[in-house]
Each structure stands twice: as C-alpha cells, then as structure tokens.
C-alpha cells in the first residue's frame, strides 16, 4: 500500500480559500497529512499516510503580516504549517465544534478580498505584458524580423489567455464569497 500521495497544482485546482481548507480537512480524515507547507506547495504537495485525524485548516493570505500575526494565531492553539507565496496555512486538531479563525462576516469577506487582490496583481501584470507585446509587434513591426514579430504576437496571446484565466478566477472567488454571505 502506498504511503505517499503527490498532488499537483492543489491551490490552482481549489482557488476559493474555503474549498482548499475543506479539501485538506478531507485528506486528513482519510489519513493523508502534510507536515510542512512551503513556497512551492501551491504547485506540488506531498502527503504522507497516517492515522485519521480531524483537523481544521485555515487559509489566510497576509502579504505583509505584522510581528504579532503568528503569535496571535498560536495563542489560540493554531499550528502554522508554513506559507506558500503570501498564504499562511494553519491547522488545529479538534473534536466537537469545528474551530474557526474568521468568526464574523466582515473578516470572512476581507479574507476573500485579500485573495482577489493578490490574484489581481498577476492579472494586471499579464495584461500589461500582453499590451506591451502587442504595441511592440504592431507599431515597431518595421524594425522587427517576421520571426520576432510572430514570437511577440504568440507571447501576447499567451499572456491574454493567462489574464482571462485569472480574471475568471477572481470572478469565481467573488461569486462564491457572495454565495457564502447569503
């Protein structure tokens, strides 16, 4: 029996924070555990087989956390598994009532807004890149070889596709957040 499970792009498949949390919780219920979360964990996550555990996970995006960010969570009994990019992943074993880190509507909406804002940075960069590549290909075509121009157009199309994907992700997180509010 396998005692290791590798999951690729886990954070890209579950872009809504609560979906990611629930997925980790279900994995732990099935006995699949992560020991640490690292920068590349959004791309690859390695789970080890162990005992079934009832864990509550929390996905919290904090771009510039204050010094008291980690101590505050730890005081409440949360264990920091690490961070991937700006996302901190917290865990707490429980029985009975499921613990929550975000206990009012305002902070739950705020968490989703921070996630959308982070995605919007990449969205803007891809869009700007696509715009720059298009402008160069169209207005400076005289000074470019046919091969270079084609490469620029291909780059612009690729960046636009990525921007559309990220735009869709932002809308999806926003809509799911609204549904959760209701």
């Amino acid at each position: 029996m396998k005692n290791k499970k590798i999951v690729f792009f886990p954070a890209f498949k579950r872009v809504v924070p609560s979906d990611f949390e629930n997925w980790l919780e279900n994995m732990a219920l099935d006995g699949w555990h992560i020991e640490r979360v690292r920068q590349w964990s959004s791309i690859i996550m390695i789970f080890k087989k162990g005992k079934t555990k009832k864990y509550r996970f929390v996905y919290d995006l904090q771009a510039v956390p204050g010094k008291d960010y980690i101590p505050t969570y730890e005081q409440f009994g949360w264990e920091c598994l690490g961070r991937m990019a700006s996302v901190y992943i917290w865990r707490m074993e429980y029985s009975g009532e499921r613990p929550e880190a975000f206990t009012d509507n305002e902070s739950m909406v705020g968490r989703d807004k921070r996630t959308i804002a982070a995605v919007s940075v990449s969205f803007s960069l891809f869009l700007l890149g696509a715009l720059a590549a298009t402008i160069t290909a169209v207005f400076f075509s005289g000074s470019l070889s046919a091969g270079d121009r084609n490469q620029l157009i291909a780059l612009a199309v690729f960046l636009i596709i990525l921007a559309i994907l990220l735009g869709t992700v932002m809308i999806y997180i926003y809509k799911r957040g609204k549904q959760q509010e209701e």
């Binding site: 505050t72 005081q75 409440f76 949360w78 929550e100 902070s107």
Partner: protein, 106 residues
C-alpha cells in the same frame, strides 16, 4: 484619521469591532480580548484569531487603538482618545435604538 472620517468609517459598528474596542478600555492582547468578549457575552461571541488580528491591525492603522508593549512577540493594545470617542458615539446610537424599540414595543 480624524474624528469625522472615523465616524463615517466605523458608525454603525459591527459587533466584533464594538466588543474589541470595549475590551480595550484596559490593556489586552489578542487572546485576552477573546476571553473577555466570551465572558461578557456568555459564550455568544467567540472571536477567532484571524478576525481579531485583522480587526486590531485595522483599528491600529486608523488610530482607534495603540500598541502599548510587545513581550515575547505578544502585542498589547489600548483604546486611544479617538477610539473612546467613537465607542461613545456608537453607544449613544445603540441607546437611541433601544429607546425607540422600547417605546414601540412598550
């Protein structure tokens, strides 16, 4: 932030913000706030770590509370003069609501 802007931003206030500001009439850290609010509301409101951290960051940024000390990375906070004014404004609003509801329901 000046008082006018703070009134616009915080009034009416969420229950979370109200109880956090109320608990910071005396020096407290995040976990202490949760315990205080839980006791005050007979377990009705149990604030989570994420909610408290984000609320404290916001209140400190807007000048309604200030950090007093930092022991072992644990920050303690207290309400500023601006925070007290905003809390009193909100308390008056709630008292007015109560008065109106009471006269309506008898």
């Amino acid at each position: 932030m000046n008082e006018e802007k703070a009134v616009k931003k915080y009034i009416p206030m969420t229950e979370t913000m109200f109880f956090i500001l109320l608990s910071l009439q005396q020096e407290q850290h995040g976990y202490g706030i949760m315990l205080y609010v839980r006791q005050l509301t007979n377990n009705r409101i149990v604030l989570g770590a994420g909610t408290i951290y984000n609320s404290l960051s916001r209140l400190e940024r807007d000048g309604l509370i200030k950090a007093l000390s930092e022991d072992d990375r644990k920050k303690t906070y207290i309400t500023t003069e601006l925070g007290k004014k905003i809390l009193h404004t909100e308390a008056k609003r709630i008292a007015e609501l109560y008065k109106n509801v009471k006269s309506l329901l008898g």
